[in-house]
């Protein structure tokens, strides 16, 4: 069992959530309440990672965060180390390919709040911020939880992009999925089986938690 790789995967999932939670909340709420021309295009753009092959995203990331790219060069000048082949680079990639998994369920959560509830909150003199914290977040909570769990599980499972932009560095960019791939190619089936079973159990538990909690919350608010 490769604990280093498992820890790295969990760590990657954690940081992806930290970055995506505010982004997902803001984007999700904005898309849920506003009506404007071109909204469909923005939703389509956000959904792209669902249908694009990892190789396409991987290729753009290779070009986009490499040493010769503007973001890559900027990162290196600020932090003194390259963004490609680093944990931070993986987090950036992970945030990108998880966008739809985070934004879409949150958007559905906010969409489910009746407009009258929002108007009532405004009539009571609640500020935007207080209405969000006291009214909307508690009501949209099942969607938010689903988003977090889906993002978490999806990060653990991502393989293609990590293989293309990570560089397979133990303790830095070698996630559990890559470690399993290495073991299979190295004919070490016993280790691959152990790690696969662990990943299966974690993913199943995460999704079960979201369904149970989501169902309970939906009943309470329903």
């Amino acid at each position: 069992m490769d604990w280093v790789a498992l820890k790295l995967s969990l760590w990657l999932a954690f940081w992806t959530l930290v970055v995506l939670l505010p982004i997902g909340l803001l984007l999700g709420r904005w898309l849920a309440v506003s009506r404007f021309a071109g909204k469909g295009w923005i939703e389509a753009l956000l959904a792209l990672p669902l249908v694009l092959p990892p190789t396409v995203l991987g290729y753009y990331l290779l070009v986009g965060i490499g040493a010769e790219s503007a973001p890559g060069a900027l990162w290196e000048s600020v932090f003194g180390k390259p963004l490609a082949f680093s944990f931070e680079g993986l987090v950036a990639a992970s945030v990108l390919f998880n966008l739809p998994f985070a934004v879409q369920p949150m958007q559905r959560g906010f969409e489910a709040i009746p407009r009258q509830v929002r108007e009532a909150a405004a009539c009571c003199g609640l500020t935007w911020w207080r209405a969000l914290c006291r009214i909307e977040l508690p009501l949209a909570w099942p969607g938010i939880l689903t988003a977090l769990v889906m993002t978490f599980a999806h990060t653990l499972g991502e393989f293609g992009i990590v293989l293309m932009v990570g560089g397979n560095i133990p303790g830095e960019t070698q996630t559990i999925a890559i470690a399993i791939y290495d073991r299979v190619q190295g004919f070490d089936d016993a280790a691959a089986a152990r790690m696969s079973a662990t990943l299966l159990a974690i993913s199943l538990a995460a999704i079960a938690v979201s369904y149970v909690a989501g169902g309970r919350l939906a009943r309470r608010h329903g």
């Binding site: 669902l50 082949f85 879409q104 369920p105 959560g109 099942p142 969607g143 397979n168």
Partner: protein
């Protein structure tokens, strides 16, 4: 505020998206359906080749097709991965491995026609991208200096756990006494072609890859390289083998690769002739029809059959 309809809507949205993607995929012409050549009843065989051979075998296959009118399909990847897939019944007819161990493994399982033929010996190079602070020095002296003074941040090799060129790169680095020092700086390609891509991308300062890749026009323009002494690592014996069920075309290509003309192309890509190589474990290559007999100068008493023991991936 019920959960069910919302989830159903999300699912419907996802299904719609998936359907769009699927329809888009269907609308595109299937580029992979190479099918049998017109006027020829024989299907096109698929050749599995180690990624280090990419450019050499592409050129050779094109020449073979021009000469004989027979088509081939080429698949490139890591030798370990192909060995896995062949064990699971992948429909390859000829396997060009960068590692003898893989071929012997398949032969021991009775998946091949024989124990394969040694057809070339690969070499390692130190490759550095243009503008790298690293000097291309095959004896790795500048690499050692760069490790000390911090010029080296990232160094690419193929994964030693299952890529033959990665194993040999590790041996060479160990020989130079740099392995422990360089380990924290390594990025590992899944196969040697990906390692070369990492090494020359500009995100790493250099890497150790196959000579054949460094000589390829695609890389030669943007990088410099130097040969690493062959004595620093075990020989990279390139062994090919016909698999059970190999057809006429695959057999013809196998024999064609042993001809002087093909040898000359391999030499242009930096491969040494197989006579230099030492068949580990006293293996003897048996070419089809008695052609291409290679005397395996097996290391007496070493008793190593292609380092099968190194394949446990214990870390």
């Amino acid at each position: 505020m019920r959960r069910e309809p919302r989830r159903r809507r999300l699912l419907r949205r996802l299904a719609g998206l998936a359907a769009c993607g699927f329809a888009g995929g269907l609308a595109a012409p299937p580029a992979f359906a190479a099918g049998p050549a017109p006027g020829r009843a024989e299907p096109v065989p698929t050749v599995a080749a180690a990624s280090g051979l990419k450019f050499a075998i592409e050129e050779l296959a094109a020449a073979f097709t021009r000469e004989t009118g027979r088509k081939l399909r080429l698949s490139f990847g890591s030798s370990g991965n192909f060995a896995r897939q062949i064990e699971q019944g992948a429909p390859f007819e000829l396997f060009l491995s960068a590692d003898e161990a893989m071929v012997f493994r398949l032969a021991d399982k009775g998946l091949t026609l024989d124990r394969g033929t040694l057809y070339a010996v690969g070499r390692l190079v130190l490759i550095v991208p243009r503008g790298s602070p690293l000097k291309p020095d095959g004896e790795l002296r500048d690499l050692a200096a760069a490790l000390v003074d911090g010029r080296l941040k990232r160094f690419a090799i193929a994964n030693p756990e299952h890529a033959p060129y990665g194993k040999r790169a590790e041996e060479a680095l160990r020989h130079a006494g740099l392995w422990e020092a360089i380990r924290p700086r390594l990025v590992m390609g899944e196969n040697v072609a990906q390692a070369a891509q990492f090494a020359t991308s500009g995100s790493a300062q250099g890497g150790i890859v196959a000579h054949s890749l460094a000589l390829a026009p695609a890389l030669a323009g943007g990088s410099h390289f130097a040969l690493i002494p062959a004595a620093w690592h075990q020989p990279l014996n390139q062994r090919m083998v016909l698999l059970k069920g190999a057809g006429e075309t695959a057999r013809a290509f196998h024999d064609w690769l042993l001809q002087p003309a093909a040898r000359a192309v391999m030499a242009r890509y930096g491969y040494g002739p197989p006579e230099e190589g030492k068949g580990e474990g006293g293996e003897e290559g048996k070419g089809e029809g008695g052609r291409g007999k290679v005397q395996g100068g097996g290391k007496a008493g070493s008793g190593k059959t292609g380092e099968g023991a190194a394949w446990t991936g214990s870390r």
